[in-house]
């Protein structure tokens, strides 16, 4: 009963706060249209938002005990702090990056950054950092990815030589995270490019030619799409692993091919649909009547007009490919050890999660690999959202 009363009291307080907020807003602004026409739902939304911010601030201030506390008493809020601090740091970095973009560079890039929402500039920054780290992994990483050092299970921060500590068999985790980026992101990028090459070629061919070519391509794609993707990939990977034997490189190559073909089905669907819309345009008809060849039509007339949706799809597809690779690695049949990879790292370090109550800092280690995946996915999606909005806005 008390619980029910509590809930009722909260709801009542929220409603009252919302009503007051709207009333005060109306009186202060002398009935400005924004407050005048505000619906009850919007007002309650404001109240909930205010309540959430208040709760976060309160919890943060009351329990604060140092920026990177190992104090067992504050364990309950350890991840809360990590999240809040991470958010603050990312926000500052994103704003700084946007400020730089707005003030440095050519007129065109400055304008681009001025029109960009903060989320998009953050996404660009994330992608930029990932690209730098992945490309120069060999220079940045303090140790090799396969290098086994002396002490295993070293906690993060315990030894300045190993900033994030070491794993169960004594490999430097920071170095493995950096190399993991190179492997996972690099392979995902190659796979996505291959998937797009296959998908776009097939899709545009089906759109222009139509008839039986379209039928054959589309029906094969339907057949491929009918089987759940991850399970199908697992099945094919099992076969591929058997063929490849102990050759880790060959397994990776098979994986790229398999995921590329499976993902190209989605690209095919999109590029066929986009292509069909462009093929009916008069300028394509004009080019056909001029006597232009098929490659000219595809690459010079159609492709430039399909960039926007395809680029947006590229961002999304990249995330999915990336997640598929991580999932396969987590299941043990993706990127083969000793190569570092984020999916495998989550799996290897996941035992630390059980000790979260006693060793909160160690428990963040599997989350770091998982967070690296999540951050890139979020960053790419921010950029993709922005590009979609921009292109649809241009079309009016």
């Amino acid at each position: 009963m008390t619980f029910l009363f509590q809930v009722a009291a909260y709801v009542f307080a929220l409603g009252g706060a919302a009503f007051l907020f709207r009333l005060i807003g109306r009186n202060i602004t002398d009935n400005a249209p924004y407050f005048r026409d505000m619906s009850a739902g919007v007002a309650i939304g404001f109240a909930i938002g205010a309540f959430a911010i208040f709760w976060v601030l309160y919890t943060y201030l009351v329990n604060f005990s140092g920026w990177w506390s190992r104090d067992p008493a504050s364990n309950k809020y350890f991840f809360f702090y990590v999240a809040i601090h991470g958010l603050i740091i990312f926000a500052i970095v994103a704003y700084a990056f946007r400020w730089l973009g707005r003030n440095i560079g050519t007129e065109a890039t400055k304008k681009l950054f001025r029109q960009m929402p903060a989320t998009a500039s953050f996404g660009i920054l994330v992608i930029f950092i990932y690209a730098i780290v992945s490309i120069f992994a060999g220079f940045i990483a303090p140790y090799g990815q396969e290098e086994v050092l002396k002490t295993a299970n070293l906690a993060p921060g315990a030894d300045p030589a190993h900033l994030l500590g070491t794993d169960q068999i004594g490999r430097d985790i920071l170095s493995r995270l950096i190399y993991g980026g190179q492997n996972t992101v690099g392979i995902a990028f190659a796979t996505t490019c291959l998937a797009f090459l296959i998908g776009i070629t097939g899709g545009f061919l089906a759109a222009i030619k139509g008839g039986w070519i379209d039928q054959i391509l589309s029906r094969s794609v339907d057949a491929l799409m009918a089987i759940p993707q991850l399970i199908f990939a697992l099945l094919l990977m099992t076969i591929a692993t058997a063929w490849a034997g102990n050759n880790g490189l060959l397994v990776t190559l098979y994986m790229i091919l398999i995921i590329a073909v499976l993902d190209s089905t989605r690209v095919f669907r999109l590029s066929r649909a986009v292509g069909l819309n462009i093929v009916v345009m008069d300028y394509i008809e004009a080019a056909k009547l001029r006597g232009e060849t098929l490659p000219y039509l595809v690459f010079k007339e159609i492709l430039p007009n399909a960039y926007a949706p395809l680029l947006a799809e590229f961002g999304l597809r990249f995330c999915f490919v990336f997640l598929t690779i991580a999932s396969l690695s987590f299941l043990g049949i993706g990127i083969q050890p000793p190569l570092a990879d984020w999916g495998t790292m989550v799996k290897d370090l996941s035992t630390f999660l059980s000790y979260a109550a006693f060793l909160p800092v160690q428990a963040t280690l599997p989350l770091m690999a998982a967070g690296a995946i999540a951050l890139l996915t979020v960053g790419v999606n921010f950029v993709v959202d922005w590009m979609l909005q921009r292109t649809s806005g241009l079309k009016e």
């Binding site: 345009m281 300028y283 004009a286 009547l289 001029r290 007339e301």
Partner: protein, 550 residues
Amino acid sequence: MSDQEILLSVRDLKIEGRADETWNPIINGSSFDLRKGEVLGMIGESGAGKSTVGLAAMGFTRDGCRISGGSVVFDGIDLVTADAATKRALLGKRIAYVAQSAAASFNPAHRLIDQHTESPIQHGVSSKSDSEADAMELYQRLRLPNPEEIGFRYPHQVSGGQLQRAMTAMAMSCRPDLIIFDEPTTALDVTTQIEVLASIRDIVEQFNTAAIYITHDLAVVAQMADRIKVLLRGDEVEEADTRTMLSNPQQDYTKSLWAVRSFQRELKAPVAIHSTPVVSVQGVSAAYGKVPVLHDISFDIHPGRTVAVVGESGSGKSTAARCITGLLPPGKGLIQFDGESLPADYRQRNRDQLRQAQMIYQMADTALNPRKKIGEIIGRPVEFYMGLKGAEKRKRVEQLLEKIELDPATYIDRLPSELSGGQKQRIGIARALAAEPKFIICDEVTSALDQLVAEGILRLLADLQDTLGLSYMFITHDLATVKSIADEVVVMKEGKVVEQGPKVEMFQPPHHPYTDLLLSSVPEMDPDWLTNLLNERGVDNIGDAASAKI
């Protein structure tokens, strides 16, 4: 009219639109009064702000626009400052709106009558059954066929002209005091347009409704409006009674609008009997799949001549063009070029055959690749057919741009989206000229353009014909265009050639009944034209009159 009380009073209305992070003025202070039962015609080119003013008369602006000053007082209520609830109570009930494209404005998932009765029920004006009965009565008054039954159809099951009338009926459903018509007949054929115009005029008179009639067609506004207001780029040019405005326009801009229809080419000598036609269409029949579209059509196009092909939409004009270009190989018949037969399919024609016949499209927006610069668009045929590259190609492109009266330095590196509608159409012409053809098909090239701009295009085409000796096949549904540019006319209906001959003969009686119907349906500037025409046809039901004549 002046004894009626003022219903809508717009004072110094200013509207701004957002572009490139700043607010730019769209309407710089518009003022007018509208009395009960009065029809105000609003004309101007596209971009003049007609629709924006029309929508603002309902207290509404499009996304990205805002009313930045002035007042719109409807029956004592200022719609600019009124709150959402007040406006909700007025819109649909006392103020209604009829959009340009009824086909795009009806919800395709609901029956007409359900959409019709929505606002009376919403506003509590009448019950469902009452408003359905009323809908049928309105359908009858608007002369829709089967008024009892037509409401139960879905929008796609009704023709364009009928949809436009159904939308007018819908606007009348609450018996509003004010209706805003936003180009209600622009998308319709001339013969259909008359039916819609007559219905709208009748019903507005019957219910003493005030209306704002937005259009760019002077002849139409002359039939409909009591007063006319001319707008130019957000500024008011002048406002006067219809008859005063037509007989005695004050401003230069208004006079130039009135003068457009006077463009006329001089007549050419008749074609020599033994001359070889550039293009000869001989007994062509064609079909889309199994649906026959063309039935045994034949006509010739002689060197340096313009043949206008006229007819309503769906009459097969464009299909005939597709047969000539080879996009749709005809089932029967021959296409000859300079006395030689062409392969039916364009894929079998050689590069020279393709080069000789070029095409200019109706919608310049879809005819130019939006991702290519003007220099590339015009340069491609130059490179493809003439083999010119680099500086030579650029020089040729510059020549072509000069020919179409555009400054090469300014335009050669622009994208199509940075050009106006008329300029885009000129680029389309330049692309056709780049192939150095003998024969050009112009498919409704002026119908998407404003009258002044369209006239410029027609003059350009006429000049090019004189200097380059081109032959045109000019597809159009606008008889005014035919009058100004054609040498010979081919009238098509339902895939057949109804009548053909030199222009002089075609515009003089006796006509084929269908040609007569087309000719008499073209609105004239005389404000009594519609009334006289209806009297002449002598029947209440114009639709019947039209079909009875054929």
